[in-house]
């Protein structure tokens, strides 16, 4: 046993540790938050800690890749590669990201407000000596419906109810789910949720008016245990209690956000009667505490895909004791409820047009509607478009370069927040590469031109100053004010991989449905992340072919919008459940000739 001392930003923790393991694992099992997007595999370089005192294993080769000389001098290490060899004192370096820009707005088609939840108020007759019925019998006769005795809490509420002159009955569809003393008809709320791999978004909705009151967002707290879906599935497999840890993390997050939403808007949490949830298959499994192992490997089966209906209480969600939980239906491990929601929000089935729908993320999910006939695929785009796996990459938070323009031999930047720029986020990388391609610093194959090539070209001479050649590798310096920020050849390759994956997905689906790019009437970009990618960048890097430039439409977070629509309309739920059955899914990686298609799609225009 040895002593581990951990300094946080403002506090200090002491642990007695017996396990011999990597420091990251130890910190996480002690409940410390250390960001480890790659799940502790030593390949993202983000889980840095500073060793203040004590003995650890020698610096590993991978750490040399991710640490600067200065950091090494300061004793900074990657916690996933450090093994404590005795008493140890470390300092956490991860400043909690505070100012995230998260998009919540989104397009919603018109719909008839007809929530599943409804209320009805009754005048009470009280028992008399002549009519000496039990409260339960009395009410049941009155409501013409049984008061379900599955839950004694309803019975416990009866004395309170009988004190009043009126009672309000709450129904889910035709089913009586609860009773409240007095007339509470004016207060009837619901919550719509999108649980994304990266962010969680909640909307508080007034069900009687059919109006969204406000929304709150937070970073999905599961991200501390792995940035993408696969690392979380791996976490569940590796860690005892892993499933419980991830489930509790997201439920705590939902409870916190709901409490905040209710407080800020003067709504009693007891007056929230339904929560509808859209999420990808993995997030949905984790929310319900269902093992995710089967999703993580071929043949990528889910445990469940259909819609689900539970008591919200079963998950420990702090709402009305009668509140219901509705999980939107999905199709498969890749095409989850988030995508089905997107299909309904984009009205892909109600059209005679050909529409391409894409939700961009680590996996790009694509749905093609050929005059209402739906096919889908998923492409392994990787995290490059979210700023990961990029040398100077970061998430869209304070200090991230989100826009890059090259004009007249100058590079202009757009930075999030007021802090000094520290890295480039996904939209910044995409725009930088689009610009580098536009001005001709790279050719069709994505190779950065040599300095000599630039200098000898009249048009490119002025840009040669930004190109650095180091150890035979080239990179473009886009900023050197507070810190050198560059786009390397390797970064360009990462974006090419993402682009190749997405574009080949488009072509594969079009091919299967026997239509061409020219036949498309519209391209819909969904997702909170996709919205930040400009048409210029998308077309400039060739993720979307140039001929579709004027057909691009952004619909924002359609997953949350879908959950909202389900809250407001029982008919929408039925439609989603029907559509989920109609979407055909195609696996790209095993498709004949896919490799060649993918390879062709790597090239720039």
């Amino acid at each position: 046993m040895y002593q581990l001392t951990v300094y946080g930003q403002e506090e200090k923790y002491l642990f007695a540790v017996t396990e011999r393991n990597h420091l990251l694992d130890i910190l996480q099992s002690q409940g410390m938050m250390v960001e480890s997007p790659c799940g502790g595999k030593g390949i993202c370089g983000k889980c840095k800690v500073q060793i203040i005192q004590g003995l650890v294993n020698a610096l590993t080769a991978e750490e040399l890749k991710y640490l600067t000389d200065e950091e090494i001098d300061q004793g900074i290490r990657l916690s996933c590669l450090v093994i404590p060899l005795g008493d140890l004192t470390v300092k956490l370096l991860d400043k909690k990201e505070v100012k995230h820009k998260i998009l919540t707005d989104g397009y919603m088609p018109e719909l008839e407000i007809n929530p599943v939840i409804s209320k009805k108020v009754y005048d009470l007759t009280k028992p008399t000596l002549e009519n000496n019925l039990s409260y339960q019998d009395l009410l049941e006769a009155f409501l013409d419906a049984p008061i379900l005795s599955g839950d004694p809490s309803l019975l416990r509420s009866l004395p309170e109810i009988l004190k009043e002159e009126q009672v309000t009955a709450i129904y889910a569809g035709n089913e009586l789910i609860g009773l409240e003393p007095g007339d509470t008809c004016a207060e009837m709320y619901g919550i719509a949720v999108d649980i994304g791999t990266t962010t969680v978004v909640l909307s508080l909705v007034d069900l009687s008016e059919g109006r969204e009151i406000a929304s709150e967002t937070a970073i999905n707290p599961q991200k501390e245990y792995g940035l993408d879906v696969l690392s979380r599935i791996d976490f569940v497999r590796r860690k005892e209690n892993g499933l419980k840890v991830l489930q509790s993390a997201v439920i705590d997050c939902l409870n916190q956000l709901m409490a905040e939403l209710c407080r800020k808007n003067n709504v009693l949490p007891e007056r929230v009667y339904e929560i509808t949830i859209a999420a990808n298959a993995t997030m949905m499994h984790l929310l319900l505490g269902v093992d995710t192992a089967s999703i993580g490997k071929a043949p990528f089966a889910t445990v469940f895909s259909k819609h689900q209906n539970f008591a919200a209480d079963a998950l420990g969600l702090n709402l009305s004791p009668f509140a219901r939980l509705y999980c939107l239906p999905g199709v498969s491990s890749y095409i989850g409820a988030d995508i089905v929601a997107g299909v309904v929000v984009s009205q892909l089935t109600e059209t005679h047009k050909n529409i391409l729908f894409i939700d961009m993320g680590t996996n790009g999910e694509i749905v093609l509607s050929k005059a209402g006939q739906l096919s889908s695929c998923s492409c392994a785009a990787g995290p490059a478009l979210e700023g990961m796996n990029i040398s100077c990459g970061m998430r869209a938070s304070e200090g991230a370069i989100e826009g890059v323009k090259i004009n007249d031999n100058e590079i202009n930047l757009k930075v999030i927040g007021e802090a000094d720029q520290v890295g480039v986020c996904g939209s910044g990388i995409l725009e930088a590469i689009s610009e580098i391609s536009r001005v001709g610093m790279i050719g069709k194959t994505g190779r950065l031109k040599k300095k000599a090539e630039l200098q000898s070209d009249e048009k490119l001479q002025g840009l040669a100053q930004f190109l650095i050649e180091e150890d035979g590798k080239r990179k473009v310096i886009i900023d050197s004010n507070s810190k050198t920020i560059a786009i390397t050849q390797g970064d360009i390759r990462q974006v090419q991989l993402a682009k190749g994956a997405i574009l080949s997905g488009f072509y594969a689906l079009l091919d299967l449905m026997e239509i061409t790019m020219e036949d498309l009437d519209e391209v819909i970009i969904a997702g909170q992340f996709g919205k930040h990618l400009s048409v210029d960048s998308l077309v400039g890097t060739g993720i979307i072919p140039g001929e579709l430039r004027d057909k691009i439409r952004y619909i924002g977070n359609s997953s949350k919008t879908g959950a909202l629509m389900c809250l407001l309309s029982g008919e929408v739920r039925e439609e989603m459940e029907r559509i989920a059955k109609d979407i055909r899914y195609y696996e790209l990686s095993t498709m004949e000739g896919y490799e060649r298609l993918f390879t062709r799609c790597l090239n720039f225009n």
Binding site: G42, L81, G296, K297, G446, K473, R474, Q489, E595
Partner: protein
Amino acid sequence: MSDLKQSLLKDLSDCVVDMDEDQVVELAQRYVDNNFDVYEAIDQGLAEGMERAGKLYEEEEYYIPELLMCSDAMYAGLDVLRPHLKNDENDDKHKVVIGVVEGDTHDIGKNLVKIMLETSGFEVMDLGRDVPPMDFVEKAKEIEADIIALSTLMTTTMENMERVVQILKEENLYERIKVMVGGGPISPSFANKIGAHYSDDASKAVKLAKSLVREAKVC
């Protein structure tokens, strides 16, 4: 050596690097028509070109599409030359069993490694994708392979690499058959931990494979 032969060898190599499939076929045919030694055309022409392409890939000059197009050119040349090859040259090749581990179907990376190994003189048995750990070992035993090369793109299937190493140990084959691993989520320390060897791209995989068989010879 005749000037013509020498210049044809150089052109073959250049055309592979330049991804010129048609030209390679033409050159290979001329080479055969002149009755020059076919083995040399493969070794010093096509394979040499592919090796240069691999080097360009490593230097970030070339990327996956170029490498694949180079290999197209090389295989086109090979198709012309191979029928004229005497059989005896094939016997002492080192053998590699390659595949994507069970649970994963992404195989582009694996295919690149396979091409590079083949052009460097290895005999490669490709088991494809979603391959159970036992199958690698069975096949390696059957063909007396020197190396098993494993690939995956998915974090969730990495454990199957470890499984292959375990089976080799259980069957006392671990010393004889080396295991190479690679793919998106794989790191050197992971490879180290499970007792395998790591390379981070197709070109480096060849160097690693060569050094592994060299080591084995020394032992």
